[in-house]
Amino acid sequence: MKLVILDYGAGNIQSIKFAIRRLGHDAILTDKVDEILTADKVIFPGVGEASSAMEKLRSSGLDKIIPGLKQPVLGICLGMQLMCNSSEEGDTGGLGIFDLDVVRFPNSVKVPQIGWNQIEGLKSDLFSGIPEKSHIYLVHSFYAPLGANTIASSEYALNYSAALQKDNFYGVQFHPEKSSDVGSLILENFLETI
């Protein structure tokens, strides 16, 4: 299996590489269009700030490539947020794959949300074998609201999308690579069964 992690200079991807390796696979980190188009699966990571990440995607032309991909794509954290219409963070236009606008958590709770929360309303093969209310690890200040593409929700001040799916595009707000055995199984589902 050819597995590609999109390289657009965003954040720390070493832990994703480690998690994939623990599952017995190797991933290529690349921004080359040929490599991306011929991949079996694509991982779209992201840590950091939305507008500068989007700027990096634009300057490498990946913003045009990603929405046209036909193979399974998994956006993680900021990667998922950038797949939405827009983000309130830095007033950023997104890739428009998911018809949702990402907004900041209200100040009635501590922001960022850091730690282990639960996912429920699990709807996709991504969550095969994952019990409702399993704990996953999150670090984020902005969230995607619930919508037609929501395949898992979580609660922090309100109910929001913990995972999204539309056709071949998947996005998770949490970090599967850091979510212990639950996260490993979700990654494995993406790699093996989707």
């Binding site: 720390n12 070493q14 100040n107 850091i114 730690g115 984020h140 922090y156 690579e177 979510s179 490993s184």
Partner: protein, 251 residues
């Protein structure tokens, strides 16, 4: 519901764990990677590695350690100790650390927080604050608590938040090592003052101390070292009891 985090802290010197570690099922008590894996298996929510070595080789050894921990451990971990530049942080994150913790270097040059936040994001910058109560005032201390300053804990915490830190790790030097409980009054005050997570550190001696710091102290997470290293409390037992007390934890 977001759960309260339990965080074992490992002191590292020249790539090995130091201080007493009393894990019977550990082949080599000095191996931080093995110890980290055991804690992760037992249900620790995060890990903190605090590097106390002062050798010139420090940077390289620490980067190697981070790489090996990241290879093996599937929960988040923070690395701290002597980090003072963007380059220091870059190396650690590239090798697989999730967050870094800065302390004295941030007090000496507060702009460092802004620089790290703009380069790496708030989510991976933890500011550790050591403080001690002197004449009813909480004063920030540097260099592992050895050097007192005139800086007020609460003013500094507010500034740290405004500069973009993602979390505050507060160690009360009055409580550290006493096993008499965390500094809950100061913690509750901190938690009300800032709108970022606060990690309680210093004073853990019993399960009820954790219950107290999550309720009275309003802490978002609690860090401890020796009670876990010496198996005085197991993480599983601690979390089960916390759940019985109605505190949300990941089990």
């Amino acid at each position: 519901m977001l759960t309260k985090r339990i965080i074992p802290c490992l002191d590292i010197k020249d790539g090995r764990t130091v201080k007493g570690v009393n894990f019977v099922d550990l082949r080599d008590a000095g191996d931080p990677v093995e110890l980290a894996a055991i804690y992760a298996q037992e249900g620790a929510d995060e890990l903190v590695f605090l590097d106390i070595s002062a050798t010139e080789e420090k940077r390289k050894t620490l980067a190697e350690l981070v790489y090996h921990v990241g290879e093996k451990v599937n929960i988040p971990f923070t690395v701290g100790g002597g980090i003072s530049s963007v380059e220091d942080v870059d190396i650690l994150l590239k090798n697989g650390a999730d967050k870094v913790s800065i302390n004295s270097s941030a007090v000496k040059r507060p702009e460092l927080i802004n620089e790290l936040v703009s380069k790496f994001g708030s989510q991976c910058i933890v500011v550790a604050i050591d403080a001690k109560q002197i004449d009813d005032q909480w004063k920030v201390h540097l260099v592992g608590g050895k050097v007192p300053t005139e800086i007020d804990l609460f003013q500094w915490a507010k500034e740290v938040e405004q500069r973009g830190a993602g979390e505050i790790l507060f160690t009360s030097m009055d409580h550290d090592g006493t096993k008499n409980g965390f500094a809950n009054e100061a913690l509750a005050q901190l938690s009300a003052l800032v709108n970022i997570p606060v990690i309680a550190s210093g004073g853990a001696g019993s399960i009820s101390h954790f219950t107290d710091t999550f309720t009275a102290g309003k802490a978002d997470a609690a860090l401890a070292a020796s009670i876990f290293h010496f198996k005085e409390i197991s993480i599983k037992e601690l979390k089960s009891e916390l759940r019985e007390e109605g505190i949300p934890v990941r089990l």
